[in-house]
C-alpha cells in the first residue's frame, strides 16, 4: 500500500504543482522518485515530528495540499497537539499519512504498533479518517482528498493487501458503506482498514454465514449522521478493526447508533494484552483478536 500511495502522489504531482510531500526521515526505497522528479515539492524535515506537523500547517497555509509521512505513532501521537491546534483547528489541507496500521510492524514492538490512533484522530472535528482496505480504496481515498481539501488521516497497511473487486464500483460512492459480499439485508460485518479478509474468513464460519460484508474506509465525526442512515436497515452488526476497541471504530459505530436498541453491535478488535508481546503480524493477530 505504501508503494501504491507514492505512485498515486507521484502521478498527481505531474499535473498539480501544489502537492507537497514531507517525510520524517522515513521512506527508504520508496520516496526517491518523488524527490528526484519534484525536489521543490519534497522535504525531509528529519526526525522531528512536531516540527513536521507545524511546517506542514505553514506550507498548507500558502495554498498547498501537504502530505506528511511517517510510521504509526510518530506522525500522530508524537505531534498530537500540533495536529489539533495547527492543522485541525485551522482546517488546513494536510493529510497525515501513517504507514503501519495496527500490527503491521509486528516484530518491531509496541513503539511501532498503531493501536490507539483512531481514538486520537477521530476526536478532531475537521479530521476525516481514510483507512483503506485495499488499493482500490486507497485510490478512491486519495481522489477524495484531492477533491475535498481539509485535514485527513490516511492510515496505510505496510504491505499490499488482496484487492477486493466484486464489481462494486458501479453502485458505490466513496464515503459510505462499500458492499463487498451480499448475503442478507439485516446482518452485516462492517470493516475498516485492512481487515476485509478477516471478514471474508469469518463469514465462512457457521455463526456468521448469513452476514453481508461491508467496508467503510472513510469515517469521521462529520460523517456520523450519514452512516446512521445507512446502518438503520441492520439488526446485527459486527465491526472489525486492527485497533483497540476503546476509542476505535466499534466505539465510533456505537456512537453513530446512539440509543437505538434495534441494532445489536459487537466488535472484533485487538486486545490490549498484545502490548509488549513479540511476534510477527500474523502471529500477533492470531493470538490477540477478540470478539466482544
Amino acid at each position: 500500500m505504501r508503494k501504491k500511495f507514492i505512485e498515486i502522489i507521484y502521478n498527481k504531482m505531474k499535473t498539480n504543482k501544489k502537492i507537497f510531500l514531507i517525510v520524517g526521515d522515513l521512506g527508504f526505497n520508496l520516496v526517491e522518485p518523488i524527490y528526484k522528479s519534484y525536489p521543490k515539492n519534497f522535504l525531509n524535515v528529519g526526525i522531528a515530528e512536531q516540527n513536521m506537523a507545524g511546517i506542514a500547517a505553514g506550507i498548507a497555509s500558502e495554498g498547498y495540499h501537504v502530505f506528511i509521512y511517517s510510521i504509526a505513532n510518530f506522525p500522530t501521537f508524537r505531534c498530537a497537539e500540533q495536529i489539533r491546534n495547527d492543522i485541525d483547528y485551522h482546517n488546513l489541507n494536510v493529510t497525515i499519512v501513517s504507514a503501519g496500521a495496527g500490527l503491521s510492524y509486528g516484530s518491531l514492538g509496541y513503539s511501532h504498533h498503531a493501536l490507539q490512533d483512531y481514538a486520537l484522530m477521530r476526536s478532531f472535528p475537521n479530521m476525516e479518517i481514510i483507512s483503506p482496505g485495499d488499493d482500490n480504496e486507497l485510490q478512491d481515498g486519495l481522489s477524495y482528498s484531492f477533491k475535498n481539501p481539509g485535514p485527513k488521516y490516511l492510515r496505510l497497511e505496510k504491505d499490499n493487501k488482496k484487492i477486493f473487486n466484486y464489481k462494486w464500483k458501479k453502485k458505490y460512492k466513496f464515503g459510505g458503506l462499500r458492499n463487498i459480499k451480499f448475503k442478507s439485508i439485516n446482518k452485516a460485518i462492517i470493516t475498516t482498514g485492512p481487515c476485509i479478509q478477516k471478514a471474508v474468513d469469518l463469514s465462512n464460519k457457521k455463526k456468521f454465514k448469513e452476514f453481508s460484508i461491508y467496508s467503510l474506509p472513510i469515517w469521521s465525526m462529520k460523517s456520523k449522521k450519514k452512516i446512521k442512515k445507512q446502518i438503520s436497515k441492520f439488526k446485527k452488526i459486527l465491526t472489525i478493526e486492527n485497533h483497540l476497541e476503546d476509542g476505535g471504530f466499534s466505539s465510533w459505530m456505537r456512537e453513530v447508533n446512539g440509543a437505538n436498541t434495534n441494532i445489536q453491535i459487537s466488535s472484533m478488535s485487538l486486545s490490549s494484552k498484545v502490548i509488549g508481546k513479540v511476534g510477527s503480524q500474523d502471529f500477533l493477530e492470531n493470538q490477540y483478536y477478540k470478539i466482544r
Binding site: 522535504l43 507545524g54 511546517i55 500547517a57 505553514g58 506550507i59 500558502e62 497537539e81 500540533q82
Partner: protein
C-alpha cells in the same frame, strides 16, 4: 504619529482592558508593545504581503490593541476582548482580522513560520517568541531546520524579559550563552534594547544572508514601574486604584 505616542495609547488600552476583564498576562503584554508598534508601523502592512506570527499567544491583547490602532478592526470589537461570544479570545486567534495563526500553546509559531518561509521566499515572516517558550523542544527542531535551509526571509524576534511563568528564566532553565548557541545553529544574531524604536527599526529591517535572530532585551511590565520585573504581574490584573496610578505614570 510617532512611536512614543502610539505606545502610550496601546499601553493605556491594555491596562484598561485587563482591569475590566480581570485577565492575566499584563506584564507579558507590556513587554512587547514597542516591538509590535515598530513591526506594524514599518514592516507588516495591509498593502504588503509580509506576515507576523505571535508565538507567545498569551500576549495577544497587545497584538489586538496594535491591530486596532492600525485599523484592522473597530474599537467596539477590541472591547469585546475575552467576553462571551467575542472573536477575541485571550490567546491569539486567527478568527481575528490581521491574525494569521492561532497560538496559546508555546512552541507552535516557529515551525509554522518556517513552513511559510520555506515555500514563499518572496515575503518576509516575522515571528515573535518568548524566553520561557524556548524551553519547548519544538523551537529547537524549527531552529535547526531554519538554520539548515538558510531561510533568511524569516526574522525571529525574542522577547527576552528574563521572567517566565513561575520564576526568573535563569533559575528555571538558563538560556545562556544564548547568542553563542544561536550562532552555532547558523543564525545571524543581534542583541538590542527591545524598547528602543530606532534600533528596533534598523535591526529588524537589516538584510542578512543568514536567518536573522534578534534578541531584544525587554522589561516585563515595561511602562508601569510597580509592574516591572516582577513574577506577580504575569498573573495579576490591576484593580481600579492600580489602573489609575499606572495610567497617570505612562
Amino acid at each position: 504619529m510617532i512611536e512614543s505616542n502610539i505606545q502610550k495609547i496601546i499601553r493605556k488600552e491594555i491596562l484598561t482592558i485587563t482591569n475590566k476583564t480581570k485577565s492575566p498576562h499584563i506584564a507579558s503584554n507590556l513587554s512587547i508593545v514597542d516591538i509590535l508598534v515598530v513591526i506594524y508601523k514599518y514592516f507588516v502592512k495591509k498593502n504588503n504581503k509580509n506576515k507576523f506570527i505571535l508565538s507567545k499567544g498569551h500576549a495577544c491583547l497587545s497584538l489586538y490593541c496594535v491591530l486596532h490602532f492600525f485599523n484592522y478592526f473597530s474599537k467596539k470589537t477590541l472591547y469585546t476582548f475575552s467576553k462571551n461570544k467575542s472573536k477575541l479570545m485571550s490567546h491569539a486567534s486567527h478568527k481575528v482580522p490581521g491574525v494569521i495563526f492561532s497560538t496559546g500553546s508555546l512552541g507552535h509559531g516557529l515551525p509554522f513560520a518556517a513552513g511559510k518561509a520555506y515555500v514563499n521566499k518572496k515575503d518576509n515572516i516575522y515571528c515573535l517568541i518568548s524566553d520561557g517558550e524556548i524551553n519547548e523542544g519544538s523551537n529547537w527542531e524549527a531552529l535547526m531546520f531554519i538554520g539548515h535551509h538558510k531561510l533568511n526571509n524569516i526574522k525571529i524576534i525574542l522577547d527576552y524579559n528574563k521572567i517566565q511563568s513561575l520564576d526568573f528564566v535563569k533559575n528555571v532553565i538558563d538560556l545562556e550563552p544564548l547568542k553563542k548557541k544561536l550562532n552555532s545553529f547558523g543564525f545571524y544574531v543581534s542583541k538590542i534594547d527591545g524598547h528602543n524604536y530606532k534600533l528596533l527599526k534598523s535591526v529588524i529591517g537589516k538584510k542578512t544572508n543568514k536567518p536573522h535572530f534578534i534578541i531584544t532585551d525587554t522589561i516585563k511590565g515595561k511602562g508601569v514601574k510597580f509592574m516591572e520585573n516582577s513574577v506577580l504581574w504575569h498573573y495579576k490584573p490591576p484593580d481600579n486604584d492600580q489602573l489609575n496610578k499606572a495610567i497617570k505614570k505612562l
